[in-house]
Subunit: 353 residues, 2 copies
C-alpha cells in the first residue's frame, strides 16, 4: 500500500483545513500549487455553489485538492425549543434594534442525506473527499470510492476513529481540542472527551492501522515535525491559513488574529448549536452566559446567530461576530498561502523533517 502522501498525490505533509465561510477556491488552489493539499469547505454550500468552487480550484491548479462535507445527523423539528432559544436571545436583538426571526429554518442539509450533492460529487470527481461530524451511509461511501477519490474523516476519540477505520476510509484526521472551528464529535449530545492533539494523535497511531492526520494547535513547521514524531502522516492546519490574503476572513477577524492582545479561544455551542472553538467575542460572552437556555439544534441555531450578527454589525457592534480560531492563534502570521507553505516546509526541515 503506498503511503498516504502518495495516495493523496501531494509532496508535502500539509493539509489546509476546510473552513466553511473562510476558505476559498483561491486559498485551496494556492496551497495545492505549493505542494500541500488545499481544501474546499462544502459543509454548508448548495450544490451549485460547490460546483462553482470546484471549477474555480481547477481553473487555478491541476493538483489534487480536497472537498469537505458535513455529515451531521439531521435534527428533528423542534419549534418550541427554537422559540425558547430565540426568546433567550431577545434582549440582544432588542439592544441592536432588531427583532429575532419568527422561526428557524434548516439552513442546509447534511451530506449524510443529500442526493443532489452526491450526484454533483460523482460528476465532479474531486480527488480527495473528507467528512466532518460523522460518516455518510455505506452506499454513499462506496459510490464516492468508485470515483477513485481518497476518503478522509475527522475523529475526536478512539471510538470515532475505529468507526472511520471500520468504514474503510483511507485516513483519519485526529482533531484535537485545540483546533479552531467546529469539533468533529459525531454525537455531541453524548459529551466531548476534549482530547488534546498530542495524546489523541498518539493514541490513534498506536491503536489503528489507518494513517493519521494530526489537527489542532499546529501553527509552524516545528508543530508539523512534532506530530510527525507522534506518527502522523501529515498535519492539518486551519488557523494558520485564516490570515492569508486568499482567505475570506474579514478585516476585524484578521486584525484580531495578528493582535498581541487577542482574547482567549473557547469552545461554545451558542453560534451554531454544535461545539466549536473560536475567539471569545462579545457574541459568545453574552450568549453563552450562566443559566442560558438550551441552544437550538445544529444547524438551525446558526440562523439566529447570523440574524443577530447582522443587526449588531449594522449598529457598529463589531465584536458581535463569529471568529473561529484554534489555541495556536497567537502564532498566526500574515503571509500569502504559498509563502506560508514555504515557511512551514523550511521550519519543518530545520526541526529535522
Amino acid at each position: 500500500m503506498p503511503d498516504l502522501l502518495t495516495r493523496l498525490g501531494i509532496p508535502h505533509p500539509i493539509i489546509q483545513a476546510p473552513m466553511a465561510g473562510v476558505s476559498t477556491p483561491a486559498l485551496a488552489a494556492a496551497v495545492s500549487e505549493a505542494g500541500g493539499l488545499g481544501s474546499v469547505a462544502a459543509g454548508s454550500a448548495p450544490a451549485a455553489a460547490l460546483a462553482q468552487q470546484i471549477a474555480e480550484v481547477r481553473a487555478r491548479t491541476a493538483r489534487p485538492f480536497n472537498v469537505n462535507l458535513f455529515c451531521h445527523a439531521q435534527p428533528a423539528p423542534d419549534a418550541s425549543g427554537d422559540a425558547a432559544w430565540l426568546d433567550y436571545l431577545l434582549p440582544l436583538f432588542t439592544e441592536f434594534g432588531a427583532e429575532p426571526p419568527a422561526a428557524l429554518a434548516e439552513p442546509y442539509p447534511s451530506f449524510a442525506d443529500n442526493d443532489e450533492l452526491l450526484a454533483l460529487l460523482l460528476d465532479a470527481r474531486p480527488p480527495v473527499i473528507s467528512f466532518h461530524f460523522g460518516l455518510p451511509p455505506a452506499d454513499t461511501l462506496a459510490a464516492l470510492r468508485s470515483t477513485g477519490a481518497v476518503l478522509l474523516a475527522s475523529a475526536t476519540t478512539l471510538a470515532e476513529a475505529r468507526q472511520v477505520e471500520a468504514a474503510g476510509l483511507d485516513a483519519v484526521v485526529a482533531q484535537g481540542a485545540e483546533a479552531g472551528g467546529h469539533r468533529g464529535v459525531f454525537r455531541p449530545e453524548l459529551g466531548d472527551a476534549g482530547l488534546g492533539t498530542l495524546p489523541l494523535t498518539r493514541l490513534l497511531v498506536r491503536t489503528l492501522r489507518l494513517p493519521v492526520v494530526a489537527a489542532g494547535g499546529i501553527m509552524d513547521g516545528a508543530g508539523i515535525a512534532a506530530v510527525r514524531r507522534l506518527g502522523a502522516a501529515a498535519a492539518q492546519l486551519g488557523t494558520a491559513f485564516v490570515v492569508c490574503p486568499e482567505s475570506a476572513a474579514d478585516a476585524a477577524y484578521r486584525a484580531r488574529l495578528l493582535s498581541p492582545d487577542q482574547p482567549p479561544t473557547v469552545i461554545s455551542s451558542v453560534i451554531s448549536g454544535r461545539p466549536a472553538r473560536g475567539f471569545l467575542t462579545r457574541l459568545v460572552r453574552e450568549a453563552d452566559a450562566p443559566g442560558r437556555a438550551a441552544v437550538a439544534a445544529y444547524p438551525r441555531a446558526y440562523e439566529a446567530a447570523r440574524a443577530l450578527i447582522a443587526a449588531a454589525q449594522a449598529q457598529g457592534a463589531a465584536d458581535v461576530a463569529v471568529q473561529w480560531a484554534g489555541q495556536g492563534a497567537p502564532l498566526a502570521r500574515a503571509l500569502p498561502a504559498a509563502e506560508l507553505v514555504g515557511a512551514l516546509l523550511a521550519e519543518l526541515a530545520a526541526a529535522g523533517g
Copy 2:
C-alpha cells in the same frame, strides 16, 4: 549559560512529575538513578514528613532530584460556604452510613507562607525545587536560590509563564490541559484557558527566553521526541509513572490505568476545590452534577472528599475514589520505573531523539 539538562544535572530529558499521594521516594530515586529527574511531591506534606522523604531519596541515590511545593493562595475562612458544600454532599454521606465532618479544617498550609517548610528546605538543600499553583514571595525565592537549587514552576498560560520568567526562575513547566492531577492555574477563580500541551509549549518556546519543560499527554518516547521538536528542553510525565510498582497507587487505580475499558478523564474541582484531571469515578460523576453547590475552597474541600471516600470504601463502594490521570492514560504500561525510563529512551532514539 549551560543548557537546562546540564543545570539539572541529568543526562536524559525526562522528569517524573510530582504527584502528591502517588509518588514516593522509591519512585523518585529510581527515575533519578535511571538518568531522569525524580520528584518528591511535598505539596501536602508536613515538614517532618518531607524531611523523611528527602532522606529516603538520598539513601537510594546520589543523583539530583526535585522537591515540588504548592504555592496556592491561602483561602479566607468561609464557614457558611463550607457548610453549604457539606450540606450538598450530605446525601452521599448518608448513602454510605456516615455523617459529614462538622466543619472543614485547613489540611495543610501553602508554601507561599510556611516558615517551617522553608527552614527545612534551606537545611536539606534539595538540588531542584519546583512550584505549582503560583510562586512563593521573592525573598523566599532568593533564599532558595542561595542554596544553589535549580528552580522550576508550572504555568498554564503565557501570562503565568511571563511571571515565572520575571521572577528569575530557571525554567517553566508548560502544563497542558491533557495533564493529570491538579491544574497549575495561578488564579482559578479567573478561569482556565485550557491550552493543550502542543500549542502551549510552542507559544512559550517562541515567546520566552526561559527553557520550557512540556507536560501533559506524554506517555512514550515518541511523545518526548514530539515536544522536543516544539523546542521543549525536557518532558515531564506523570500518568506514565503511576503504574510503576514504586508508586503508592492502590490496586483499583492501577487496574483502571491498565484496563482497555477505562472511563474518560475529566477536569473537576469537586475533590479538592481546585480543578484537577482524573478518571471520571463515581465520586466525580455524582458530586460534580449539574446544579451542584459551589465547591468549598482549596484545600478545605479535600477534607470532605477524604471523609466521603473513607466512608464509601468501608462500604465496598470502590469507585468513590480519587484517581488522577491524564489524557494519555490508555497508553499506560506497568513497568518498573528504571525499565520505563529505559523504554522511553529507546523510543525517543527511534523517533529521532
